[in-house]
């Protein structure tokens, strides 16, 4: 097992490096000169040249990459063109909000999905199964940005129960644990939970139905175990795969919350990305993507490292 852990850890190094290369190159596949983002279009030639030298754009790409990577490792992701503030600070304060939303939304989705999936799998091919499956199909089919709008229409515009925008009263970007802020979390979290709910329902349903059809379950029943006791055996067999899927989904929630954050003006990384794209703020764009990817890679690593502790089969090899 130690070998597996080491191997998995080692494998993360080239992947992380490759991610930094892609993030670096993103700026360079962008049409036009990356300078356009920093220099005014009508800047005189000598100013452009001076800026080029200042930003190092006159060096060959590998040199630029090495310098950029060296600074990034030291925590310097450059300065936002729009605000002039360091990108690292902007992104880090936004990441917290994104994580909060993803964890709360994910937890809701995983809980609902597990419940529905267990019901559907246990009552396989009955009416309960069909209802649960229908809910899960809706979950994976609904464009969540549209669902966010619908929820806003109903609960904010019509009923005026919950706020539609921001992370706190008065557009405060700083989260604190109180009722006024929690009210802002409700709609985005529900919106974000729908896709993982649908996917977890499907996964758990298939796993439970499959495990229940295996002969060891019949043997347990024949032994006289009650349903509850059988269920613990089933749960143990379903858990490793289900948890692995949840880990990946949580990663998608963190990296993919841009749409929901945009709908609710939630001050997270997705919202930041949106701003960066529209202002052509390339350092901010690059920094936000890099940080999100590193979080995603780290999360995937964590899931894989935890796997052998949950799944006894992996402990053996």
């Amino acid at each position: 097992m130690l070998g597996y852990l080491l191997k998995r850890l080692t494998y993360t190094v080239p992947i992380t490096l490759a991610v930094t290369v892609v993030c670096f190159l993103l700026v360079h596949i962008a049409p036009g000169d990356p300078l356009n983002a920093v220099a005014p279009a009508d800047a005189p030639a000598e100013v452009v040249e001076a800026l080029k030298a200042a930003y190092g754009f006159d060096r060959p790409l590998p040199v630029q990459y090495a310098k950029w990577l060296g600074r990034a490792v030291a925590g310097d992701l450059g300065r936002s063109v729009a605000t002039g503030r360091p990108v690292a600070g902007e992104v880090l304060s936004a990441v917290g909000n994104t994580l909060l939303l993803a964890v709360v939304g994910g937890a809701a989705g995983f809980l609902g999905g597990t419940l529905l999936g267990c019901l559907a799998g246990y009552f396989h091919k009955t009416r309960i199964d069909r209802v649960a499956s229908a809910i899960s199909v809706v979950g994976v089919s609904v464009p969540h940005y549209w669902l966010g709008l619908l929820l806003t229409i109903i609960f904010s515009a019509r009923l005026n129960w919950l706020p539609a925008m921001g992370a706190g009263p008065g557009g405060s970007g700083n989260w604190t644990w109180d009722l006024a802020h929690a009210r802002h979390l409700v709609l985005p979290a529900i919106t974000l939970s729908v896709i993982p709910m649908g996917i977890i329902t499907r996964t758990v349903r298939a796993l439970v139905a499959e495990v229940l059809s295996q002969e060891f379950v019949q043997a347990l029943r024949a032994k006289g175990l009650r349903d509850g006791q059988v269920f613990t055996h089933v749960a143990k067999n379903v858990a490793p795969t289900a948890l692995a899927v949840m880990g990946v989904q949580l990663g998608y929630l963190i990296g993919g919350s841009i749409l929901v954050e945009t709908v609710f003006a939630w001050p997270g990384t997705g919202f930041l990305l949106n701003i960066a794209i529209f202002q052509r703020d390339l350092p901010l764009l690059q920094g936000a993507i890099l940080v999100l990817c590193l979080v995603f890679v780290g999360l995937n690593l964590l899931v894989d490292l935890i796997q052998p502790f949950i799944d006894p089969r992996m402990r053996r090899n």
């Binding site: 070998g3 080491l6 191997k7 080692t10």
Partner: protein, 350 residues
């Protein structure tokens, strides 16, 4: 009656020339693993196998699972490349500068696999599967189907009934007949049957074995018959080759070898065959323990750790095969009076 325009390749070397001469064939499979996928040793799957095969002969190959039988089959067919050793087909070295190429070899040599289902493309009808080889060999589609039908009829499957079916619509025995037809349709001279009847029911097994014997006479074939079933091997073979951990431990005419096996491993295998006579039931397991790890085969004779007659010499030196009777050779020090083994075979033989 044959409509087959595709004639078998001519017998080039004459009847005295062995159809196949195999010399010190070797294949190690490297084991990948570790941080950077570096090799951590190698499985010694086939390690210095050599034998000759006469024209029209049936050579049985027996041994425990994992002893390298299937690897040997795939090496002979060049589905995997040997690390070392030579194969001479009817006087021509395979892959040698003045010999025959792999393509030419495969015109003369075909394989029948154990798993009748996995050896047929599930999306192809039976006749298309059988006709595939002739098509590749340049026959027109209509001619290919014609020879396929002819061969299906020879293996006992009515072409008009079975030709258009898919593999999952056939029984295991029928599928194996299709595989035999597919192997024979290009008129090979040597057919390697890799556990070809092992997965079949006993009654079906007998039918297929008899079919194989009939086809051998009809089509002038030579067989290498690989099996772990000693009864079947005894029934069908002219000569038998016994493998242990990638090496030949004994080879000889079937009657001679079954009556008077000289290698302790062969004796153990033969005494493990269940007897029909209740007075002669097997009371003790003739072989104890698992075969040693083929990654680190033991030094000296590979069998010495499990051999009831092992002496110090067995762990120290590798026994060379010696002739114990005409055409019967065993790689055991007990069979070689000059080996320094300190007990005569007669005393040990029980």
């Amino acid at each position: 009656m044959s409509l087959i325009p595709h004639k078998p390749a001519a017998d080039r070397g004459g009847p005295a020339q062995p159809l196949l001469i195999v010399g010190s064939l070797r294949k190690y499979f490297p084991i990948r693993g570790g941080l950077l996928g570096r090799g951590h040793g190698a499985v010694h799957a086939v390690d210095g196998v050599g034998f000759q095969l006469g024209k029209g002969e049936i050579l049985g190959v027996v041994g425990e699972s994992g002893c390298g039988k299937s690897t040997l089959a795939r090496l002979l067919a060049r589905l995997i490349e040997p690390d070392d050793g030579e194969v001479i087909f009817d006087g021509d070295g395979v892959g040698a500068a003045d010999g025959i190429g792999v393509k030419e070899l495969r015109r003369n040599l075909q394989l029948v696999f154990q798993d009748s289902f996995a050896s047929l493309n599930p999306r192809m009808t039976v006749e298309d599967s059988v006709a595939f080889g002739p098509r590749i060999h340049g026959q027109s589609a209509a001619d290919a189907i014609r020879v396929a039908h002819d061969m299906l009829a020879r293996v006992g499957l009515e072409p008009s009934r079975f030709g258009g079916r898919y593999p999952h619509e056939l029984s295991g025995g029928q599928r194996q007949r299709v595989n035999i037809a597919r192997a024979l349709v290009t008129r090979p001279r040597l057919v390697i049957l890799d556990e070809a009847v092992s997965a079949l029911d006993k009654s079906v097994q007998a039918q297929v074995l008899n079919l194989l014997l009939d086809l051998k006479e009809e089509l002038n074939l030579t067989y290498i018959f690989i099996s772990h079933d000693l009864n079947v091997v005894q029934y069908i073979s002219d000569r038998v080759l016994v493998m242990y951990l990638g090496q030949v431990v004994e080879i000889g005419p079937v009657d001679c070898l079954y009556r008077d096996a000289r290698h302790p491993y062969t004796r153990a295998l033969l005494s493990a065959v269940p007897s029909m006579d209740p007075e002669r039931r097997t009371r003790h397991s003739p072989l104890t323990g698992d075969p040693p790890n083929p990654v680190n085969p033991p030094p000296g004779c590979r069998f010495h750790q499990r051999c009831p007659h092992a002496r110090t010499v067995c762990a120290a030196a590798v026994p060379k095969p010696v002739e114990v009777a005409p055409g019967h050779r065993a790689a055991c020090f007990m069979a070689n009076p000059a080996s320094g083994y300190d007990s005569s075979p007669a005393e040990v033989g029980r």
